[in-house]
Amino acid sequence: MSDLMTREVIMILGMMLVTFGVRYPVLALVGKIDLPEGVFRALRYVPPAVLTAITVPALFMPDGEHVFISHTNAYLVAGIVAVIVSWKTKSLVLTILIGMAVFLGWRWLTGLIW
């Protein structure tokens, strides 16, 4: 096996174990043992906090290093539009379609004008 293949196999096995390790034991054990309510309170903030921590740098730091706040930053402009669309419509599909259209259109326009 090549190094890359080994790396991918280990990654998938590891991800499988931790994912199953969260889902299955709780399903099998709760009712037999109780988890404190505080744990569940904290868990509710996991999805929005994690996803935000991934998304915000992608919008404000498209090169991965420097904060770039400008109308020529298509990631930021389309990201703001997507936030508004999602907030108003709650539709994932509309958010993706309009966000992508604005991103590609804005990048094309900024290439032409600025």
Binding site: M5, E8, V9, I10, M11, I12, G14, M15, V18, T19, F20, G21, V22, R23, Y24, V26, L27, A28, L29, V30, G31, L35, F40, R41, A42, L43, R44, Y45, V46, P47, P48, A49, V50, L51, T52, A53, I54, T55, V56, P57, A58, F60, M61, G64, E65, A74, A78, G79, A82, V83, S86, K90, L92, V93, T95, I96, G99, M100, F103, R107
Partner: protein, 246 residues
């Protein structure tokens, strides 16, 4: 929509049908995942293998982007763990209905637990009738989700391989915009807003930390901020509520 006469078969298909609207939402997500994964350097086999063996949309997406960033395998696995912690909520909510089931049911149902199947199934479990086959409803829902996810991943991989320059097509932004569409509906009260703002600000400030640790720091501080904000603005929602698409 419980079937009028409950049999294993009727519950199975009712579960699959009840999950259909959620499956429609997962289709673009699965296709984009497959395309992003190969664009970021995962082999097609690994991209499909992740869907087959891990089966966790958001976590797969994030792992694919972290592979693109060149992050170590250990940190990718750790991030997967944190992202999937929310499944403990769903599992705890379903567990009381599964007490009587043997391991040969608990293991696959545990593996197949997703946001979508939880959302589609919990109402069936809570329905007043005492059908002994409600777990077949879950089985139908999960089987439909799983099958769809594999097909969408494959389509995404094939599409991704045809695109020589994924950045040029904005595929890297496709993931970002998908996440925005998942996050926004989750912000339903002030503590959630506080959590998201803190996570967002810290993620930029802590971006320079090595090994993408800024991501973990920002997420943990965001979670802590949300919990603390509940002191000022108590949250009355039920503890387990599904409102996302991943």
């Amino acid at each position: 929509m419980p079937p009028s006469i409950s049999t294993r078969r009727s519950e199975f298909f009712a579960g699959a049908r009840a999950t259909l609207p959620l499956i429609l939402g997962a289709i673009p997500f699965g296709i984009i995942y497959g395309a992003v994964a190969v664009a970021n350097g995962l082999s097609p086999a690994a991209a499909q293998g992740m869907s087959l063996f891990v089966f966790a949309g958001s976590a797969q997406f994030i792992a694919a982007s972290l592979v693109g960033d060149g992050l170590s395998v250990g940190l990718i696995i750790l991030t997967t763990f944190v992202v999937n912690l929310r499944h403990a909520l769903y599992a705890a909510s379903l567990a009381p209905f599964m007490k009587h089931l043997p391991q040969r049911w608990l293991i696959p149902l545990g593996f197949w637990l997703t946001d979508e199947s939880y959302a589609a199934t919990i109402a069936r479990f809570n329905a007043p009738d005492d059908s002994p086959y409600k777990h077949w409803f879950y089985f139908g829902s999960a089987a439909a989700m799983y099958t769809n996810w594999q097909i969408c991943t494959l389509i995404g991989i094939l599409v991704g391989q045809q695109i020589p320059d994924p950045q040029g097509w904005g595929l890297d932004f496709a993931m970002v915009v998908t996440f925005i569409g998942i996050i926004m509906p989750l912000i339903r009260n002030r503590p959630a807003l506080v959590s998201v703002i803190v996570a967002g600000v810290v993620s930029v400030l802590a971006n320079g930390l090595p090994n993408k640790l800024g991501l973990m720091v920002a997420a943990l501080l965001g979670i802590a901020a949300g919990v603390l904000a509940e002191i000022a603005w108590p949250v009355t929602d039920p503890l387990v509520a599904v409102e996302e698409n991943a």
